[in-house]
């Protein structure tokens, strides 16, 4: 009887149209929320695909560079007029003259001075350095004649990559009709070829897009990050250990904790200003060097490492510490033999993420002069250097159109490094982290 009554009451509630309406509303609101979530995800994915798609579409052509084959006669008259074969003489040789002579020989019909200038403009101004390096490497070339593939000028490169409209009137393209004719003649002879762009990975910065590369910036980034790591990792881990394992809990340590949390959220340019005031103006360290850049980025990364380190240490269960102390280990032994090794995967993950952030940073480096045009590849942390994101920033601002694709290519390299670093953090966490 009772149960039948109850059942009737339930059915009557379920049958109640007001209940049904409420239920429908609740289901609808859940569905709405799910759809909003899906739309947000789809939008996010679409924007990501758009950004990555644009960067890759703009940048992939930079892996290749147009080269022109020229019959170069390594004329001893031009390279080593004294005939002594010394390195100094070879360094000072007129290599531009070799390119001019080769072009003149290939196109004897071009006579007028103005036209000859236009003819020479088809080969990169960097070609002479290319030839010089060849001769310095192998001085026996002097006097020989070789077919050499030389980088084409950026305008020619853009033409072959389809960025210059041939059908436009002559006044509104960077290459004249005559130059187009010459380039086509060269192509017909099989003397124009797109080859892998080695210079992009092996050269330093340059104002000629066709011979510019990211090696200087890559080495600069590596040196800067090395300094950052060596400074911030030991100090950060030490600070986390002391605060978590040894320090008493009182108002002072609370204050320090709040400050560290706040420092992690301070805009990076503030650290740049601090570096300018302390390292450059007070200590008198040189401008534009990875040492100072690394020190500034270390300041920025420290809070991240300390916070990640403390979280990792706190997640080691107290039973481990108690067991170690129970068998007679000192507090230092407990920490270094048991707690720290168990917390290490978490600390390393935090460190790598902090490093990845430091790798992408430009603003603090602006303050200490690392936003600069630097051609030479740095070798020590005291050589002037720049870093990858700064290189991208500088190229975006350059008027030559060929820098557009190089900017995107440099972004691809930077993204590659960031993904690799974050991937490493994920692997470390998956492989070594212990769950309790």
């Amino acid at each position: 009887m009772n149960s039948a009554n109850g059942a009737r009451r339930v059915t009557s509630t379920v049958a109640d149209p007001r209940f049904q309406a409420r239920l429908r509303r609740r289901y609808a609101s859940e569905r709405r929320f799910q759809w909003i979530g899906r739309i947000a995800l789809a939008l996010g994915g679409a924007f990501l695909a758009l950004i990555l798609g644009t960067i890759v579409a703009n940048g992939y052509t930079a892996w290749q560079q147009t080269f022109i084959a020229l019959e170069i006669h390594f004329d001893p008259e031009r390279l080593d007029p004294e005939g002594n074969g010394s390195e100094d003489a070879l360094l000072a040789g007129d290599y531009g003259g070799l390119v001019k002579a080769a072009l003149r020989k290939a196109f004897p019909e071009v006579r007028k001075r103005r036209e000859r200038r236009k003819l020479q403009a088809l080969v990169s101004p960097g070609a002479s350095f290319y030839l010089r390096d060849m001769v310095l490497e192998d001085p026996s070339l002097v006097g020989e004649t070789r077919t050499v593939w030389l980088p084409a000028d950026d305008d020619v490169d853009m033409l072959f990559k389809g960025h210059i409209d041939r059908s436009a009137p002559e006044g509104s393209r960077r290459l004249s009709d005559r130059q187009l004719g010459i380039v086509d003649a060269l192509a017909a002879r099989g003397a124009v070829e797109k080859r892998f762009n080695r210079a992009f990975f092996l050269a330093g910065d340059s104002r000629e897009p066709e011979i510019s590369g990211i090696r200087g910036a890559l080495v600069g980034s590596a040196l800067t990050l090395l300094v950052t790591l060596l400074l911030s990792f030991p100090v950060g881990v030490g600070a986390a250990l002391y605060l978590e394992e040894f320090a008493p809990r009182n108002r002072w340590t609370d204050l320090i904790e709040v400050n560290i949390n706040n420092l992690a959220a301070v805009p990076s340019i503030v650290f740049g200003l601090l570096g300018l005031a302390v390292f450059l103006n007070f200590f008198g360290l040189p401008r534009s060097v990875p040492m100072v850049g690394g020190m500034v980025l270390a300041l920025m990364t420290l809070p991240t490492i300390i916070i990640a380190g403390r979280a990792a240490l706190a997640s080691v269960p107290p039973s481990i510490r108690e067991a170690a102390l129970g068998v007679g280990a000192s507090r230092m032994q407990t920490v270094t033999h048991h707690v720290l090794p168990l917390a290490m995967p978490g600390i390393l993950t935090g460190t790598i993420i902090g490093m990845a952030r430091a790798l992408g940073e430009t603003a603090p480096l602006l303050m200490i002069g690392m936003v600069a045009f630097i051609v030479d590849i740095p070798h020590t942390p005291f050589d002037p250097a720049t870093v990858l994101p700064v290189q991208i920033f500088l190229w975006v601002d350059s008027p030559e159109r060929a820098f557009v694709e190089r900017t995107s290519a440099a972004i691809i390299v930077l993204l590659g490094f960031l993904i690799a670093m974050n991937g490493l953090a994920v692997v470390l966490r998956r492989r070594f982290e212990r769950r309790w």
């Binding site: 104002r207 030991p234 360290l285 401008r287 033999h337 051609v375 030479d376 601002d397 008027p399 159109r401």
Partner: protein, 354 residues
């Protein structure tokens, strides 16, 4: 794990010690340090690269800090921690010379590099505009003389180019240009707007009476949306002009030169912004570019003399030099000879110039 940790700590300590040793020795710098204007930067970098690659000296380091920022660093003192050369897209000011003197930077060599034209350009999809500086002033100034007549100033009422002058196209005034921090903007205001502003007699008369009010009228650009501050990135302005054929952009000649297939320069006072016209001084909106050398550093920092010789050589800044390929407008030959001689003899700038 313990060992690794200790090792890292020791390495960090070693680096710190190495750093302090370097400071103690006030290490000799073996490369030239250059700071300054972003307008001169494209030219300086080409010379520096050429110099670094063709000699045994290291390539000079160039920071683009803007003219004011560069001269501030330059005048901060003598010694390896201070730059050797400052680029500037305007002449050094008396106040900056005073600051230099205060900090012991007394002998400064002034070198004029050449000229840079500032262009008003639009997309090739629309027609070339012919405009006078007077019309430019009327279109872009914050306050203009009352169109109804009289010597009163009213907030700029013009909405379309046609409102300004019947000969101009019937399109809304949209000009994308650099922000107030830019030297290009200063030069544009001084050369183009002030040039048009002066053509009103009552404003011209004000110049003698109240120079500050005169400048405020002639150099103020309207803020009601007709002039859009598009940031320091000139490439961005080029892209926006392509997307919006009705808009105009203000930037340096080298950007027009690199984008001749997309953009066309407006004729100002009947002269098109072309290489020859700017070089001859016919195009009214062009300005000289400079750099300043610290004499005390010549002979101390290796490579300064060589760099200066490269810059002042005919193959660099001459009529057919490689700088002209990058958009620099060369000086007449006598002027070049004179500055080259100044550089060779290290003749310091006469400081009380104005």
């Amino acid at each position: 794990m313990n060992r690794i940790f200790l090792g890292a700590a020791v390495a960090a300590f070693a680096i710190a010690i190495a750093a302090s040793v370097r400071i103690a020795h006030a290490q000799a710098r073996d490369y030239v340090s250059i700071v300054g204007s972003s307008t001169v930067y494209p030219f300086t970098t080409v010379v520096a690269e050429q110099f670094g690659k063709s000699t045994r000296f290291r390539t000079p380091k160039i920071e683009s800090t803007g003219s004011g920022g560069g001269l501030k660093l330059f005048c901060a003192g003598v010694g390896v921690n201070h730059p050797d050369i400052a680029n500037s897209s305007r002449r050094i000011k008396q106040s900056e010379v005073d600051r230099c003197n205060e900090n012991g930077v007394t002998d400064v060599i002034e070198v004029k590099v050449g000229y840079d034209g500032i262009v008003l350009a639009n997309s090739k999809k629309t027609e070339v505009m012919e405009i006078s500086r007077r019309d430019l002033f009327l279109a872009l100034a914050r306050e203009v003389p009352d169109p109804a007549g009289g010597d009163d100033l009213v907030p700029n009422p013009y909405q379309t180019w046609k409102d300004v002058n019947d000969a101009l196209p019937d399109r809304g005034i949209v000009v994308l240009g650099p922000p107030p921090t830019s030297g290009t903007r200063d030069a544009f205001a001084e050369l183009a707007l002030e040039g048009g502003c002066k053509t009103f007699d009552f404003i011209e008369a004000m110049k003698k009476k109240d120079k500050r009010a005169y400048k405020a009228i002639c150099h103020s650009i309207r803020e009601d949306g007709a002039y859009v501050e598009a940031g320091e990135n000139d490439n961005l302005i080029v892209q926006k002009l392509e997307a919006d054929p009705g808009a105009f952009g203000v930037f340096g000649f080298s950007f027009l030169d690199q984008n001749v297939d997309k953009l066309q320069g407006s004729m100002v006072d009947g002269v098109a912004p072309e290489f020859e016209a700017i070089a001859a001084g016919d195009y009214p909106v062009s300005r000289p570019l400079y750099f300043y050398v610290k004499k005390a550093h010549v002979g101390q920092i290796p490579g300064i003399e060589g760099y200066l010789a490269e810059f002042t050589s005919d193959k660099a800044w001459g009529d057919d030099g490689y700088l002209t390929d990058k958009g620099l407008i060369p000086m007449p030959e006598e002027e070049r000879m004179q500055f080259a001689a100044d550089v060779k003899n290290l003749t310091p700038l006469e400081l009380a110039t104005e």
